[in-house]
Amino acid sequence: MAIIRLLLVDDEERFLTTTSALLEKRGLETFTATNGLDAIKVLDANRIDVVILDVRMPGLDGLEVLCSIKHKHPLIEVIMLTGHATVESAVSGLRLGAFDYLMKPCDVSVLLKKVAEAHARKQTAEEEARKARIDHIVSDPLSVFEDEQPPQ
């Protein structure tokens, strides 16, 4: 199984350092960002599988960052982390394509489990995308020469 590349976005720096240290110990490769803009920069610069995103942050808020991620990197799974989950924000988050919601305070083990699930789904999705592409190429080899199309 491939190493999970995780991005942690939260304005609590201590949370970032400790959690990332822990997750590194569990074999994850972690990146951190303390605000939305930084997070987007990190995403642009690195290949990331899963993002753990705090909803409430100074500057760009979580939902805005989510939008931006899903727009630029649709396959990256995003887990929302919130100090105070309201039904509205949860629904809008999920509608925007978040993988799941986690409520603070959250056990690191739960967090890890969720990350694993998200990663698994991402892999599945990528696998399916690849398969579809292969099928597509098989059925229509000429399409290789066309511009890459997203899977249907």
Binding site: R14, G83, K104
Partner: protein, 566 residues
């Protein structure tokens, strides 16, 4: 009242004219009666003089016969006498022995030289009893003779005296000199001067008069009418109070009604007024209760609005603790597996994590304390408040939210701010609500500034303004912003109690609140609050110390209070 008054006036006028016409009618009727009586008697004598001649009457028995006739016609004739032109009493019939006396000097005799009928005033004469005479002159074949009759004054008196008007009304006759010609039921004997003479007016001619006069302390109404045949006047007199008895009864009744009505009106007014004032007092109490309830409701609403933020505030440190705890466990399990003495760096990690947990616990404690301080429903405790502390605490509570919205909160406080008097919790609620509104106004703007200014406002007040460069208030909403439950926030986000609560509190403190706003330009709320008296420095110091301690504590928390805004 007016109606009553005018009714009384008309009734009085009517009643007066009634009394007047009644008295004058009586006077007129009786005058006619007396005149008729006198003219009948004169007619009797005239008839006698034309039927008999002087000589015939002087014949023995003839005069008696005539007297008999006359008496059968009227009992008023008392005696009868025949006189020659020299005043000699030729014949006489009557109870006295008067024949042979000479009357040449008698007033009636001299008067009769000019006229053919004479009626005298009442006089005593030879007989020494009051009487009056009725005499006629007869000129027959160059011979002049006279027939004279005495009228029974008692009989005549009856004619007049029997007149009764009301309880006190009476009638009597006077001559032009005011001498009584008939006895009066009350004071005043025959032939005496009328005691009422001068109290009434008498017409010089024949016209009836009506007058009111005062006599011996009583007010009287007089109706007079001169007799036709003789220079006498019939006077009808009635006490005014008696005459106007019905009127005064009516006036009394009306006055009673007015006074009674007035009393009823006053009583009703009193009852209504006291009822009204009671209701007003009740309404006042209700209003005060309402305001208290509004403050409580506003406070609860603020708690609700802030609960999201506070949950976030608490859950963040808890999340940090979770991570630290997980880290400790991780390190511990690593140690267990490796079975070697713990490495110093691992111990350092554990120590650091434990310390971090403690820090986060302290942070949570601070948050819960803030929450409790705010939500506690305590009676207003009026005491001197240090404005700087109060403002700092309020700022502290919105800081986090402001940070998220990228809002800078700038405090421009006069360093020599005096103490305020008021309930610190409520004051804080005022500032907190205003700050929350400003934060809300700047929401979605991607940053902004809130300026808090506080300075002395004259000698007796302090003015605190909270200004933002946010969305502003629409002009049409300006007069509604202090109304309870008025809100521009989406359903579920605002209760509309914030500013009404602020208004209630500021008013309760004897202060004023004003607002200027420009749509999309920003809003300035200015609160002017009366100053605290300068005494009670103990309280002030205690307050000051507490706030200092608070700030130091905050300092430990690092990111929690420093660097306001983004």
């Amino acid at each position: 009242m007016l109606l009553c008054g005018s009714l009384i006036y008309y009734f009085a006028t009517y009643s007066r004219s009634q009394v007047k016409s009644e008295l004058m009618r009586i006077a007129s009727d009786h005058r006619r009666l007396i005149d008729e009586f006198l003219s009948e008697r004169a007619g009797d004598l005239r008839f006698a003089t034309s039927f008999y001649n002087c000589e015939a009457l002087c014949t023995q028995g003839r005069l008696e016969q005539l007297f008999g006739y006359l008496q059968s016609s009227s009992k008023a004739f008392f005696d009868l006498g025949v006189f020659d032109d020299e005043g000699n009493h030729l014949a006489y019939v009557g109870p006295f022995d008067l024949a042979g006396k000479n009357y040449a000097k008698a007033e009636w005799f001299t008067a009769l030289q000019e006229t053919d009928l004479y009626i005298s005033d009442v006089f005593l004469g030879y007989r020494n009893i009051p009487h009056f005479v009725l005499a006629v002159r007869k000129d027959h074949r160059n011979r002049r003779w006279f027939l004279r009759a005495t009228i029974d004054t008692l009989y005549f008196n009856d004619l007049v005296e029997q007149i009764h008007v009301g309880k006190t009304g009476e009638a009597y006759l006077v001559n032009r000199k005011g001498t009584l010609q008939s006895a009066r039921r009350g004071k005043g004997r025959l032939m005496e001067q009328d005691p009422d003479d001068g109290s009434y007016t008498v017409d010089g001619g024949m016209a009836p008069t009506f007058s009111a006069g005062r006599h011996s302390g009583q007010r009287y109404l007089y109706a007079t009418e001169p007799l036709r045949l003789i220079d006498w006047v019939l006077v009808v007199r009635q006490e005014m109070s008696d005459a106007y008895a019905s009127l005064s009864h009516a006036v009394l009744a009306a006055a009673g009604i007015i006074v009674g009505g007035g009393v009823v009106v006053v009583f009703l007014a009193f009852v209504l007024a006291s009822g009204l004032s009671h209701q007003l007092a009740l309404a006042d109490v209700e209003k005060r209760e309402m305001r208290t309830q509004l403050i409580i409701a506003g406070k609860l609403a603020e708690v609700g609005e802030m609960s999201a933020g506070l949950a976030h505030e608490i859950n963040n440190p808890l999340q940090v603790m979770k991570s630290e705890q997980a880290m400790i466990e991780e390190v511990l399990s690593d140690m267990k597996e490796s079975r070697v003495p713990p490495k110093s760096e691992d111990l350092a990690v554990i120590k650091d994590a434990a310390q971090q947990i403690n820090t986060q616990i302290e942070r949570c404690k601070g948050i819960t304390q803030e929450l409790l301080k705010f939500a506690r429903k305590n009676e207003p405790s009026i005491r001197p408040v240090e404005l700087k502390t109060s403002l700092a605490e309020a700022v502290h509570m919105v800081e986090r939210q402001a940070q998220i919205e990228n809002i800078r909160i700038v405090q421009e406080l006069d360093p020599e701010l005096p103490l305020l008097i008021g309930d610190p919790n409520r004051l804080q609620q005022v500032f907190l609500n205003l700050l929350n509104n400003s934060v809300h106004a700047l929401k979605g703007k991607g940053g902004g500034e809130i300026h808090i200014r506080a300075q002395r406002d004259g000698d007796s007040a302090v003015s605190i303004s909270v200004a933002d460069d946010g969305c502003g208030i629409r002009p049409e909403d300006m007069d509604k912003i202090f109304h309870p439950f008025f809100t521009t926030k989406p359903v579920g986000e605002g209760t509309g109690l914030g500013l009404s609560t602020v208004y209630g509190i500021v008013e309760g403190l004897g202060g004023q609140i004003s607002v200027t706003s420009e749509l999309n330009g920003g809003t300035v709320f200015t609160v002017s609050l009366p100053l605290a008296p300068t005494e009670e420095p103990d309280h002030a110091n205690a307050d000051g110390k507490r706030s200092n301690a608070h700030r130091e504590e905050d300092g430990h928390n690092g990111d929690y209070t420093t660097a306001v805004g983004g």
